[in-house]
Amino acid sequence: MRATVKGRIAIFHPQGFLDGNNAPSFLTIDDIKATEALNIDMLLVSLKKVIFFNKNGLDVFIRLLDSIRSHKHIAVGLCDYDSAKFATINKFYGSTLTFSLFRTEKIAELFVPSNKNDSKTVLLYNEDASQRSAMAIELFDYGHNPVIAQSKKEFEEKKQNPDLYYAIIEETYLGLFGQKIATRVTGNAIIYTIANFLDAEITDTFNIAYHNNSLNVGFRLFIFDAYKVVSMNVHALNFFTKLASSAAEYNASICFVGLTFEKTPITFKNDLEDAGIMFFDQMEDILKNKELLQELGGSSATSSKHTRTLTKALIQELPGFIDATVSTIAMMTNAQALKEAMNIQTLEIKNPQNQYASSIGFYGDLDGMIILIFPKDIAKKACELLIGEENEDEEVILDSLAEFVNIIGGRAKALLGEKKHRVDITLPRTYANVDSLLEMAQHKKGVQVDLRFEGSNFIFFLTR
């Protein structure tokens, strides 16, 4: 059984009965290797479709989760259970519970970084005050707005108005968490929350893959929320210096906010400034200053001082990328997409209204970005296999569009792999309106291919 990957979370979905006899059959050696190779922040086992499980059965999955957590520093656990299953899990593991429990997949998603810039208001209750606080801090660090009920009575009262909350978090438990640095997106800026004493461990806890993803999909401003940092040593200094050098290649900015130098040598500040890192006292100094934000690249990527040009190697692979797109559409719809025109140009969208866009980056031996722009009805049609019929919920459609470009990215990666080009793909990004895409991509030169599908045109754009 392979895990399904959505954003930064991979989930196993066993069905039926799960006991010590059959559980090992769900995970072949190849499945385990494939899971270990995933670039994720959280690995979960869904119990939604499991009608019976016992401890021996769960232990098989828990062993895998524990092993992956210990060497990949990611969060692991179980999700999608009802109250009865939650009680059973607690009975099995009690105080020895080391993994996390998320009542739903939707709740789990709140505890990992995403490309989405949306703060969610959630109602939170746990009878254990330390769990309550730990969850609230994590949620806050990921950019959400937790409303914490201090008592069961208060929780039950607040629960009466479910429409006020994106999710109601109960029967959830944070085990040994991934110890990754919390990440959130604000506008076009990525904010990392760091705390305590920073040392060599930061190379493990900082999610470099996510950072590279963000650079590749067009983020240009990275802010370290360092209010809670006590001090750092030379290893952490070296880490940030290197990070600043790699960001410079993308013309990206790195800022520290709230860092004090009471216990950190002031010479470190000079070294970091020499590397290009900027320091601010308050987060608002950046986020509320539109001019500064634009200068730093946090309002859009158009402020980049130079754009990266297409390479010959990338253009040589163009047929493969188009084929990956066309064949994915054929697979998802049983209809053919036909190529109509192809030009090297900046992105040109004739009718920007009523269109959805999505992008996915790749980096490694080759780097670049695939952008797809669809009329909304065509996007829905292309994703019908993933979402079912007649779904009008924009968030669901955009999520499916992300899954759709993820498949294209996966195919492109496989095609490049056949030619011995090793690349990784980024998280997909979606745009409910094309203006925000244009802010990032309108000055980029690339190959624009106009494709025709079901009587309408859509755009494939390959750029760097």
């Binding site: 499991v50 994915t328 996966g410």
Partner: protein, 269 residues
Amino acid sequence: MVNQEQILRYIQNIPPAPFIVKQTLDYVRVGDLTKAAKCAEEDPALKFYLKTLVNRPIYGFRNEVSDLAQIFTILGISTAQQILYNYLLTLLAPKNWGLFHLKTQQFYDLQASLSRKWVKILSHLGLLTHDTESAITLLPASIIVCDALFGEYKSEVEQLRSVKALDYNTILYRLTKMSLFDICTEIGQKWELPPAISRIVHASSGLDQEVDEKEKTLAKWMHLLLFYELSQNAYVEAGLNEFIEFQIEFVQDIYESFMQVVEYDESDR
């Protein structure tokens, strides 16, 4: 990926029930097991199937049973009818499975195990009749159809499933507006199975809205039985656990009774 033309082609190519099997079934239905045995003698493949099946450990006979008349007498009318339908289904099964890592013998074992447990369930429910007993035989047709339709699209399905936990039945329905269970109904019609059998198997997907109470009860038990079997090691390894979506709410109210009927013993698991 799979399209409607491919499904229509598949349905057109379903072979009709062989004459001898049909005639044997007719004799069984009217209770003439002697004539049924004589008729079955004329089809060496059927004869071989019956002998092999009845002598498998699951039937628990100490000495080998080789005489067809004896076999039909041992089986009785209902079970003989059930086994003849199982035989029909094996004619549809592929020699080499393309999508699932399944061996022919494992498929036979699945048929046999489903059939045996189904009889226990029907006895528990007090609904054991010739036709209800045979209903289970059409269920594995969904696995055969799934393998036949998706076998050549294995890597495409893997890519789809890497981003979304979709089962084959849902993928097929969203692409073609036909489910695996619709195709099972077509098979049932082609083989002239009693319509109730097709209806129960169709409802066992757990997705049908309008089903009469008795058939709904049978469909629930069939759905849970299928997932009980598909949770066995061999079938999990074959990839069958993922082929349709388990409708847990559909069967929740019968779960406790089911565990008793199949005598599930947790202590050795």
